[in-house]
C-alpha cells in the first residue's frame, strides 16, 4: 500500500513538471511573442529592448529562463511582466473567491443531485425520471457563461432581485457574501445536478437488485431503512468519487467563465486577463495551481479506492 501511494505521488509530480514545461514552451515558441518588445511600449529603440532583455534575462537560453522562473515561483518572488504585481500574492487574493464559488456550487449540485436521484430511483419511470433526464441533457448542452450572463442581466440588473455581479468577502459580511454568490452557485450547479442525479439513479437501481439488499429485506428491515442504510450508502461511493474529480476541475479552471461573467475576481478571471496579454508568469502559475488541484484530487481518489478495495491495488 505504501509503495502504491509513493508511486502515485511521484507520477503526480512528474505530470505537474510536464505541465509546467509545456506551458512555458507554448509561450516561448510563438512568433510575435517576445515579451521584451511588448514590454518596451510603443516605438521602442533597439537599445531599450536590449536593456529589458538583459534585465529580465530573456537573452539567456530557454532552459535557464525556465529554471529561473520555477525557482522564483517556488520562493514566491515571481512577478507579472506587465503589471509587476506579485503573482503568488494575486493568486492568494483570488483563491478565496474561487473556493467560495466552487464549494457552494458543489454542495448544491451534490445535495440536489442526490435527492433527485433517490426520488427517481424509488419511483422509476415516473415524471421525476423524465425530469432528471431533461435536467441532465440541459446541463451538458448549455454554455454556463451564457446562462449566467442572462441570469445576471434579467434577475440582477433588470429585476434587481440579485446583485449585479461582484464579490463580498465572507469575513466582511457572511450574508452579503452568500447573496452575491447565489446566482453563480446556481448557474454552476445547473450544469452538473442532472448528471449526478442520473449517475446515482443508475447505481441505485443496480444495487436495489443486489443479493445483500434482498437479504436485508428478507430479515424484515423496513423499506426506508434498507434504502438508506444498505442501498444509498453503497451507491454513493461512485457519486462521491465523481464529486471529488469535478470539484478539482472546477477549482482548477473550470469556473473561469462563471467568474468572468459575474465579475468575481477569482483566480480564473485573473488567468483569463493574463492570457489575453500573453503575460507568461501568471498564466504559468495559475495553470500549475489548477493542474495541482486536478492531479491531487485524482491521486486522492485512486489512493482512497486502493485503500477501500485491495483488488484495485496493482501488484
Amino acid at each position: 500500500m505504501a509503495a502504491f501511494v509513493v508511486r502515485r505521488l511521484s507520477s503526480m509530480a512528474l505530470v505537474l513538471f510536464t505541465v509546467s514545461v509545456l506551458v512555458f514552451a507554448v509561450f516561448n515558441v510563438i512568433p510575435n511573442g517576445d515579451p521584451a518588445v511588448r514590454m518596451a511600449g510603443q516605438a521602442p529603440s533597439d537599445f531599450e529592448i536590449q536593456a529589458i532583455r538583459q534585465e529580465w534575462g530573456f537573452d539567456e537560453p530557454v532552459w535557464v529562463q525556465y529554471a529561473t522562473m520555477m525557482r522564483k515561483l517556488a520562493t514566491g518572488d515571481v512577478v507579472s511582466y506587465f503589471t509587476q504585481a506579485n503573482v503568488v500574492d494575486e493568486i492568494v487574493r483570488g483563491a478565496p473567491h474561487t473556493f467560495s464559488l466552487a464549494i457552494g456550487a458543489a454542495l448544491i449540485w451534490f445535495a440536489v443531485g442526490v435527492v433527485l436521484g433517490l426520488v427517481s430511483a424509488v419511483r422509476a419511470g415516473r415524471a421525476s425520471d423524465r425530469l432528471i433526464t431533461v435536467l441532465a441533457v440541459i446541463g451538458v448542452s448549455v454554455p454556463g457563461f451564457w446562462v449566467g450572463a442572462l441570469a445576471n442581466h434579467y434577475l440582477g440588473f433588470r429585476l434587481g432581485i440579485f446583485p449585479n455581479g461582484g464579490y463580498v468577502p465572507l469575513t466582511e459580511n457572511p450574508l452579503r457574501w452568500a447573496y452575491h454568490l447565489v446566482l453563480p452557485w446556481l448557474t454552476l450547479a445547473l450544469l452538473l445536478t442532472g448528471v449526478y442525479a442520473r449517475v446515482l439513479r443508475t447505481h441505485l437501481l443496480d444495487t436495489l437488485s443486489a443479493s445483500h439488499v434482498q437479504a436485508a429485506r428478507a430479515k424484515g428491515i423496513t423499506g426506508r431503512q434498507v434504502l438508506l442504510r444498505h442501498v444509498l450508502r453503497n451507491s454513493l461511493i461512485p457519486v462521491v468519487t465523481l464529486w471529488g474529480l469535478d470539484f478539482g476541475v472546477v477549482v482548477g479552471g473550470g469556473a473561469i467563465l462563471i467568474e468572468a461573467v459575474f465579475d468575481l475576481e477569482g483566480v480564473g478571471q485573473y488567468a483569463a486577463q493574463a492570457i489575453g496579454d500573453l503575460d507568461v508568469p501568471p498564466v504559468l502559475a495559475v495553470t500549475l495551481f489548477g493542474a495541482f488541484f486536478i492531479v491531487v484530487v485524482n491521486a486522492l481518489v485512486d489512493i482512497a479506492y486502493a485503500w477501500l478495495d485491495p483488488r484495485v491495488r496493482p501488484r
Binding site: S11, L14, V15, L16, T18, V19, L22, V23, V26, F27, I30, P31, N32, G33, G125, V137, I138, V140, S141, V142, P143, G144, F145, W146, A149, L150, H153, Y154, F157, L191, L242, L245, D246, V249, G252, G253, G254, I256, L257, A260, V261, G268, A271, A272, I275, G276, L278, V283, V286, T287, G290, A291, I294, V295, N298
Partner: protein, 313 residues
C-alpha cells in the same frame, strides 16, 4: 417497455430532424444574405437607416444602441453594435461553429483511435509514454489550456515545416479543440483495446501471421465502432460548446468572422442595451447541442453500450 422505447425514438427522430434543419439553414446562409438581407456577414451598416412600420429608423441609434429584430427582410433579427445584420451573421457563424465542431470531433476521434490502438495493442514502453502523455493533457485545466493555445496561435499563427496556418484561420480552433478532446476519448479506447488484446481471436490472428497493423485494422477496429458512434455526437456537441467558451474569452474564432461563440461573447458585452445579441446565438447553440446530446443518448440506448464519458466545459 416497447412504448417507452418508441417515445425515446421519437425524441431522437425529432432531434435528428432539428439538427438537419439547423445544418440546412446554415448551408443556405449565402442565399439569405444575397436575396433577403442583401448584405454580407462583415458589412457594416452603422450609418444606414431601415424602414420599420412606415417609419425610418437608424440601424444603430446615435447613442450606439443597435436596432432589435424587425422580423422582416433586412435585419430580421436586428443589428449588432457595428450595424451588421445579426441573422446573416448567425447563419454564417453557424457554418463556422458546426464546421469547427465536426472538424474537431473527427480529428479527436482519429487521433484518439490511433493513440488508443497503438498504446493498448503494443503495451510496454510505448503504452507508458502515451498513457503518461494523456495524463498530462488530462490534468491541464481544459479551458486554460484551450485559451492559452488559442490566444498564442491566433496571435502568431503556426508554422510547422511546410505548413503555415494564418492567425485568423478556422483551423486553429479546430486544432486546439481536438488536442483538448483527445484524452477524454483515447483513455477509454485504450482500456477497451487492453481488454480485447487478451482475447482468443486476437491470438488467432497473430498466429496466422497477420501483421500488427492489419490486426488493429481488421480485428480490433470493428469492436471500437460502437464506442466511436456513441461518442461522436457527444464530442461534436462538446467541441461546439468549448468553441463558444474560447471565443467568449477571445481565443476562438477571430473577428470579423463570426461564430455562435463570439456572437454570444459580443452580445454579453452589450447585454444591457441589446439583449437579443446574446440570446439569439445562444439559443441556436443550445438547440444544436441539445439535439446532438439527445441523439447520442438514443444511440447509446439502441446499442446498449455501457460507456462512461466525462466531458467538461
Amino acid at each position: 417497455m416497447a412504448l417507452r422505447r418508441l417515445r425515446r425514438d421519437r425524441a431522437a427522430l425529432m432531434s435528428g430532424l432539428l439538427l438537419l434543419l439547423l445544418v440546412a439553414a446554415c448551408l443556405a446562409a449565402p442565399l439569405w444574405a444575397r436575396h433577403v438581407a442583401r448584405t454580407t456577414p462583415v458589412a457594416n451598416h452603422i450609418t444606414d437607416t431601415v424602414i420599420l412600420d412606415g417609419e425610418r429608423r437608424d440601424v444603430v441609434s446615435l447613442d450606439g444602441i443597435p436596432i432589435g429584430p424587425t422580423w422582416s427582410g433586412r435585419f430580421f433579427l436586428g443589428a449588432d453594435g457595428n450595424g451588421r445584420d445579426v441573422m446573416v451573421r448567425l447563419l454564417y457563424g453557424g457554418r463556422n461553429s458546426l464546421l469547427i465542431g465536426f472538424g474537431a470531433a473527427l480529428a479527436t476521434v482519429l487521433c484518439a483511435l490511433v493513440l488508443g490502438l497503438v498504446a493498448g495493442y503494443f503495451g510496454g514502453l510505448l503504452d507508458a509514454v502515451i498513457a503518461r502523455g494523456l495524463d498530462v493533457l488530462w490534468s491541464f485545466p481544459a479551458i486554460l489550456l484551450g485559451v492559452a493555445l488559442g490566444v498564442a496561435l491566433a496571435l502568431g499563427g503556426l508554422e510547422l515545416g511546410p505548413v503555415t496556418i494564418e492567425g485568423g484561420s478556422l483551423l486553429i480552433p479546430v486544432l486546439v479543440l481536438s488536442v483538448i478532446g483527445i484524452p477524454y476519448l483515447a483513455r477509454p479506447i485504450r482500456g477497451q483495446v487492453l481488454a480485447l488484446r487478451e482475447q482468443e481471436f486476437v491470438d488467432a490472428a497473430r498466429l496466422q501471421g497477420q501483421s500488427a497493423l492489419s490486426i488493429m485494422r481488421a480485428e480490433l477496429l470493428p469492436h471500437l465502432t460502437s464506442t466511436v458512434i456513441v461518442f461522436l455526437p457527444l464530442v461534436v456537441g462538446n467541441a461546439i460548446l468549448l468553441e463558444a467558451a474560447l471565443s467568449f474569452l477571445g481565443a476562438g474564432v477571430q473577428p470579423p468572422q463570426s461564430s455562435w461563440g463570439n456572437m454570444i461573447g459580443e452580445g454579453v458585452q452589450l447585454v444591457t442595451s441589446a439583449p437579443h445579441l446574446a440570446i439569439v446565438p445562444g439559443l441556436m447553440l443550445v438547440l444544436t447541442v441539445i439535439s446532438l446530446n439527445v441523439l447520442a443518448d438514443a444511440v447509446r440506448d439502441a446499442l446498449d453500450a455501457r460507456l462512461n464519458l466525462r466531458l467538461e466545459h
